[in-house]
Symmetry: C2
Subunit: 292 residues, 2 copies
């Protein structure tokens, strides 16, 4: 704690007419460029003047209490609501508004100034595909089912606890991909060949590997002092898994020092150069990489 | 398709020194304000001048081919890379850079100008909590286990196919919450009371409901022409589930016209006024709502 005493500290407000999830992600990216300690307060669903007034009073009260201007990230699109929030004494960083005008100029069309356009709901076709991807991924976690494996967009392989499950779920949620994952176990190493059901889908296979030391640590949290978690066994499994993937021409990457976001993006990016897809924004859509 | 012929169309590039996920989310929010048809091309991990040059050439080639300036959303933080991308003929929307200078002025500290600060990796404590939340949530999906239910941050209840599973996973991934979910079934309706194990955790319960017509449609995709999917049965189940939740004082919301992002944010926001949390950004952290 003592080391942090000279780091400046601020209160950060995330104000959104929707969920605030985008504003939060951008705020984190921007603030990560500064050595700053901060607390975040989320004020989502600010879609009426009344709610904007409440938010403004809350922000102003923080300034009145501390004398230090809070930092306000907002994604409001209705000018009246923007103006209301701006009445509070704070550093206001509007993360949508500044980009509307240049786009309007470039496109020669007027913005809609409507709230809640960026999220899909259940009626939307792309949203349905995303939900199907999540269901498929859950049903094909950890090799539990080989049914409809040919429908998978990606099949992840790797030793137990190499990060397959969270990566699979993230790929489904973020990219709408149907992902199966399959644990590589000592039986596979003894046979020295991947299961036939996987080899039949070879172009969809992608491997995850991990530093044995890291793996041992993760496994020890789960099953302390087991053979399964021992460094020796982890070294053996990782070496065998990597050999198996190399022998079968399966590309793989190490999850050791990567976030699931980074692993997922790298997988999508490596499996195929990014393909393009036509989207009509009036039927809002998720980022979709075509891996077929 | 004919209705779309007068909608302007553009190529959109998402250029990032990281995954591009934040840039993509913001681009979608901003573009949703315009009635525009567009194709997206993702160029992630642009962290060297060489990669920036390749990206610049790709964007320029698109302009040379069509004569129409593409739209480029970028989250680059190294000035040299920004400058390189700007050489391409396009509408450049830098979504991080414009906010660095005002923050620098306000805080009186210099930005780091470093790449890759906004994602956590496996060594990070908060990241570990998020992975634990995902594992917990998977292990407590669909009432499969009541073990360690007291460790849950949220327990979702609702009839089959009301959106519990994707919402649970999203809450775990985005907010690092441990979520259990439990299907309400005819046995519960007959007993007219929630299971004792759930009532013991009443303050954590949150219900999802859904329009019977919508539910019937969703279930019919899964099990066509079944009693389970029939409108009559869906009406019965939804009415009984809502009655059970009302009788037990469990707050609930309808998932019918909401995205999982919206449902998740609404749950977090309703279960407790947003609480604050001190964060030192040098140990990067996820958005964490304290529900305890």
């Amino acid at each position: 704690m003592t080391a942090q005493q000279d780091i400046p500290s601020r209160m950060v407000y995330i104000v959104s007419d929707g969920t605030g999830i985008t504003a939060e992600a951008l705020a984190r990216s921007i603030l990560s460029q500064f050595n700053l300690a901060y607390s975040r307060i989320y004020i989502p669903f600010v879609d009426t003047l009344k709610k904007a007034q409440t938010a403004r009073l809350q922000i102003q009260a923080e300034f009145d209490r501390t004398g230090i201007p809070p930092i306000v990230f907002s994604t409001l699109v209705i000018q009246e609501l923007v103006d209301e929030i701006h009445l509070a004494k704070a550093l206001h960083l509007d993360v949508i508004q500044p980009f509307i005008e240049p786009l309007k100029q470039e496109l020669g069309i007027a913005p809609k100034q409507e709230i809640g356009l960026s999220h899909q709901n259940m009626e939307n076709e792309e949203y349905k595909l995303r939900m199907e991807a999540i269901n498929f991924t859950l049903e094909h976690d950890d090799g539990i089912s080989e049914q409809n494996l040919q429908e998978a967009d990606v099949i992840l392989i790797g030793v137990s606890r190499s990060g397959k499950t969270p990566t699979s779920l993230y790929l489904a949620m973020q990219y709408g991909l149907k992902v199966a994952n399959y644990p590589l176990i000592p039986d596979d190493f003894d046979r020295k060949v991947l299961p036939a059901s996987l080899l039949a889908q070879k172009q969809k296979l992608f491997g995850l590997t991990i530093q044995p030391e890291r793996l041992s640590k993760v496994r020890n949290e789960r099953r302390p002092n087991s053979h399964y978690a021992s460094l020796g066994n982890c070294q053996y499994e990782v070496a065998e898994a990597e050999r198996l993937m190399l022998m079968n021409g399966v590309q793989f990457l190490s999850s050791t020092s990567k976030s699931i976001e980074e692993i997922s993006t790298a997988i999508v990016s490596r499996m195929r150069a990014y393909s393009t897809q036509s989207i009509n924004l009036s039927a809002d859509s998720i980022a979709h990489f075509n891996l077929k």
